[in-house]
């Protein structure tokens, strides 16, 4: 029987990530890929196509125009798929809360699996979020 746990187990084995980074979200999260924090040791790989991805990382402030593209990417990803919203700008508009062209509630556009606060979030925070997913799957009942 295909249970939620079995599906999720496949997801947490190696999380392949497609990045949708705007503005400083991109430059601030580069160290996660670099050798110092090295996300590949946890099985996190940045892939070049949404069709290979399990997770969508969204960072930086989002505009209605960029969210349309993010929705297209989300729809192209195979299930199970998960969205991680990183940084305060992505979640609430952050310091651009009073701008006329930023997204204020990201959950109106894509279903968000986990919010990672911070400006920007530390690499450790991202690994902690991924670890929480692993723990969560281990605790799921297999039924």
């Amino acid at each position: 029987m295909i249970t939620k746990k079995k599906v999720m187990k496949k997801f947490v084995k190696a999380i392949w990530v497609f990045n949708w980074f705007n503005s400083c979200g991109f430059s601030e999260l580069i160290p996660v890929v670099g050798s110092r924090w090295d996300m590949e040791r946890f099985g996190l790989v940045a892939v070049n196509s949404p069709r290979k991805a399990d997770a969508l990382f969204i960072a930086g402030y989002q505009t209605p125009k960029s969210m349309k593209r993010a929705q297209q990417i989300y729809e192209q990803m195979p299930s199970p798929k998960f969205v991680f919203a990183m940084g305060s700008c992505t979640m609430t508009g952050g310091m651009y809360w009073d701008s006329y062209n930023t997204v204020k509630r990201i959950e109106d556009y894509v279903p968000v699996f986990m919010y990672i606060p911070g400006c920007p979030p530390r690499p450790e925070a991202i690994f902690d979020a991924v670890h929480k997913v692993v723990v969560h799957v281990d605790e799921l009942p297999d039924e």
Binding site: T63, P64, K65, K68, T92, W97, D98, S99, Y100, N101, K104
Partner: protein
């Protein structure tokens, strides 16, 4: 060649260029600072002046910008032209009415380059460029408010009214921000 004589030579070239522009364009060209020339023209003459400037070697359109003069009731449209032959920047300024902002498009000279600049000015200031076939929004897709860069557009109030809900506990804090 010494520094001084080199400077003098540059100055004479500059004076010559200004004289040349004055006689061909038929308006005064002001020397703003080194290699920067300004001129103010009537909005009806924009296509004519730009064509002449193009023929004189100002073949690169750097950008088009708009300034909103609220008290005056005018929009100032500014065209920045660069010349690779003279190494000079020519700034053409023209003022149009703020209530019905209309000006002829210069995409007959610079094509797609001018078209994109004009699209931006159209979406941010509402200036209508007559003759531009594509004035669709560049950044503000699905935008139905007023042009956001206008001085009399209170964007903070607009955002609070349109995008936030005072009864939402997460968003209540935005309404408590002091001005």
């Amino acid at each position: 060649m010494s520094e001084k004589s080199k400077h003098d030579k540059n100055q004479t070239i500059e004076e010559k260029l200004i004289e040349d522009l004055k006689s061909k364009l038929g308006t005064t060209v002001n020397y703003q600072k080194e290699r920067r020339l300004w001129m103010t023209i009537d909005p009806d003459l924009i296509v004519e002046t730009c064509t002449k400037a193009y023929e004189l070697g100002f073949e690169h359109l750097s950008t088009i910008s708009v300034t909103d003069w609220l008290k005056e009731g005018k929009h100032e449209v500014t065209y920045h032209l660069w010349s690779y032959t003279h190494n000079h920047l020519l700034t053409i300024k023209t003022k149009i009415d703020r209530k019905s902002p209309k000006i002829s498009s210069i995409n007959s000279i610079w094509g797609g380059n001018a078209e994109t600049c004009e699209r931006e000015c159209h979406e941010l200031f509402g200036v209508k460029f007559e003759g531009n076939p594509n004035l669709t929004p560049l950044f503000l897709e699905d935008w139905d408010g007023p042009p956001p860069f206008l001085k009399d557009f209170n964007w903070r109030e607009f955002v609070k009214k349109e995008m936030y809900d005072q009864n939402n506990p997460r968003e209540k804090v935005y309404f408590e921000v002091k001005k």
